[in-house]
Symmetry: C2
Subunit: 441 residues, 2 copies
């Protein structure tokens, strides 16, 4: 079908009036829904029932450590082993920590600013620091850069990962580019999993900065929505083979496996990096919450069980993602005013409106009581130059609320698109008539 842009203006105006009535109908419902963050829903959290009470008074780790007491900054041996297996690394290549992988990233950057990332290198804070930011991307990554006054260089996301040609070119010449943010699997928000080629080129590319680091936020490593999971190349191995063994920090957590607020977070890297990090962390804390680690190990036991557990998450999430796809397809599929991703895992759907419509859509939805992620949030400094990307987080609301929210959302996309098309036409008319006036004047 032809799409909104081919409609004549009267048709669009009359459609707009009709849609506006529907929109007012939504407003009457006094909705109060929040689709702004990638939060697991209560049913997902229920999957981990019993985790806290599974110790039955046995607080000893396999090496005899009383997990109730101090110590063990690298994490319990069995926790390191279990989560190393999740990430395809060795136990000595991982630190299992508190409940927040974001805190691990934050603290790693704070340390890099103050002490550098290697004892042989200068603190980042001594000079300008830039990070490459594939976008659309994760707003909390970008917020860390803003906090630490790290200049962000946007790099477009493609279907196989970030634009690697551009990245190679940039890092080869600018020594102040010290890092890149990556969500390599079921990327936030586009759902893309990096291709083997992109991973390999990231690991092997020449960087002008000798202390360049990849911040590999593998938050959705096990978070498949289909029975044919995407495959991600093991970047730590590729880095090692490329003789860049210390280039990557891999982050992950059980926030979307066990409890979003009370899981276990981890960072993996070369043994050299991990040892240095453990040394610095031992000055920050006497140790992480080992009881929670022990609960996780006793509850989940092994990787196979975690995979089985993740299938239960997928069973809850699949209908939600499907519903969003169905409504978007039904409401917007033939109108040529939006494109969106169909992720095979992760927590988000990324939608692009016509240029200049995203803010308006989010605002319209908010005024009718449904909060979406702030438009622009998926770009550095909250600035989406084309004002067209919106992140949809379908995991938290129950299906009936999700249905309402997405129907309203689709309506808002249509309203904003029509307004945009009509405005563009009006502007064109004014431009044309002023040209006319100039000619005849």
């Amino acid at each position: 079908m032809a799409g909104f842009t081919t409609y004549d203006s009267d048709t669009l105006r009359s459609l707009h009036r009709k849609l506006l009535l529907e929109y007012e109908g939504f407003k009457q419902k006094n909705l109060k829904l929040d689709m702004s963050r990638g939060k697991p829903c209560p049913e997902q959290l229920d999957l981990t029932d019993g985790l806290l009470s599974c110790l039955n008074g046995d607080y000893l780790a396999e090496d005899g450590t009383d997990c109730r007491n101090y110590g063990g900054v690298e994490g319990l041996p069995e926790a390191r082993r279990l989560f190393a297996s999740c990430l395809g690394v060795q136990p000595e290549e991982i630190i299992v920590s508190g409940n927040s992988s974001l805190a691990l990233m934050h603290d790693l950057i704070a340390r890099a600013m103050l002490f550098g990332v290697d004892d042989q290198e200068r603190p980042w804070g001594e000079g300008p620091v830039k990070f490459l930011c594939p976008c659309p991307g994760y707003d909390r990554h970008f917020a860390l850069c803003e906090l630490f006054k790290i200049e962000m260089i946007p790099v477009p996301m493609r279907d196989d990962g970030p634009a690697i040609d551009q990245i190679e070119e940039l890092v080869a010449h600018d020594p102040s580019i010290k890092g890149i943010w990556c969500v390599p699997m079921y990327s936030n928000p586009t759902g893309v999993t990096y291709s083997d080629e992109v991973v390999t080129r990231l690991a092997t590319m020449k960087t002008k900065a000798t202390d360049f680091r990849i911040f590999w936020d593998n938050a959705y490593a096990l978070h498949h929505l289909t029975d044919q999971p995407d495959r991600l190349l093991n970047i730590l191995e590729v880095c090692r083979e490329a003789n860049n063994p210390d280039r990557v920090y891999i982050f992950s957590s059980t926030s979307k496996i066990s409890y979003a607020g009370a899981g276990v977070a981890m960072v993996a890297s070369s043994v050299k990096n991990i040892r240095r990090l453990a040394r610095l962390m031992s000055l920050q804390t006497i140790g992480p919450n080992k009881l929670n680690q022990l609960c996780h190990v006793r509850f989940f036991k092994d990787l196979e069980n975690i995979h089985a557990h993740m299938k239960k998450h997928a069973a809850i999430l699949r209908p939600k993602f499907q519903l969003v796809q169905d409504i978007l397809q039904r409401e917007l599929g033939d109108k040529k005013i939006a494109t969106w991703t169909k992720p095979r895992g992760g927590y988000f759907i990324s939608l692009n409106t016509l240029e200049g419509c995203a803010k308006k859509v989010v605002q319209l939805a908010a005024e009718a009581g449904v909060i979406f992620t702030k438009a622009g949030a998926t770009f550095p400094y909250g600035y989406d130059p084309l004002d067209q990307n919106i992140r949809i987080a379908p995991t938290y609301p129950p299906l009936h609320e999700l249905k309402t929210a997405m129907e309203l959302f689709s309506l808002c996309v249509q309203l904003a698109s029509i307004e945009k098309i009509l405005m563009d036409r009006a502007a064109e008319t004014i431009t044309l008539s002023s040209v006319q006036t100039a000619k005849t004047g």
Copy 2:
């Protein structure tokens, strides 16, 4: 009685031989005891049995928050209220966080270096930074200064707190003195509780630095060993009354109330400081482990219950502290080679040997299989100028091990003291005879 220094050298030598035989006897036992850290013992940890399993599937906080999910960087409302009552502050003056108060201190200093302690002030990292370090003090505080390249200025501890005259003089003139470490109640390691006068003068004194901060590590606020607890003046109130409302950060935790490795830590300060800190923390983490906070609130309920719980801790610890006092008094009481504190709370006894003996004592004990805190650890840079302070941590070992350890320790003090006295006399003889030689030469 007269003490070792009055003995003639032959008596000392023969006593040394006798004690050395006893020491060899200890060596035969192949001891392997660790008295180096202030760790709670298993019986103390058992007091909190049931904490992890007390939720019974009810994960909702009083405001409806699902504690399993993301959010709430300041901590649960009921956790803020409970721990505010422990510290005598208001709920809005406290952030309840993860398991480590040391991490709160570390992160606060990292932020001060990078961003300053106030939006109106410069980052500390832009200039030289010095901290006042009452000593003997806590080695992990000093390690933080070393990490962040903060120059440490030692200030002697007195019976009523750190030497306040000296502190007032220093902070009045040096704008690079940005902070002071304090363990104000049952101080680590001397057991001193700061007098009202010292607290008041710390809160009211004029400081050259406008961004001077007191790091008030109130780790032992509720950790009384007697039925007549020490009283500590509420420094946050005194600071407010003195028109220095933002001067103090108060730290505490349940590490020695519930679990040393899996408790809840907190920081209290003015509402202004707390709001700024919460804003910065919200970029570091989406929230602390709220499930653990909920477990703590449900288990402990209120301040009265915590006090009752602390009495059970005291009942376990009192005999240990008493045993150390008894053995020290019996073995060293009349020999004038050591003085030690008799704390009414906290986790340590601080002992001073004759000058120049502490390292030797710790070394002798280690060679016989008993590890004490490294001599010098209680001073900045690990350097005790008089080499005489040793921190004794009696909480962890069972009584029979503690008895062995302290008997060995007392023996080591005697051995090292005799060696020191004999060496001093030999040195004196050499000096005298060289004076003699010079005279007759």
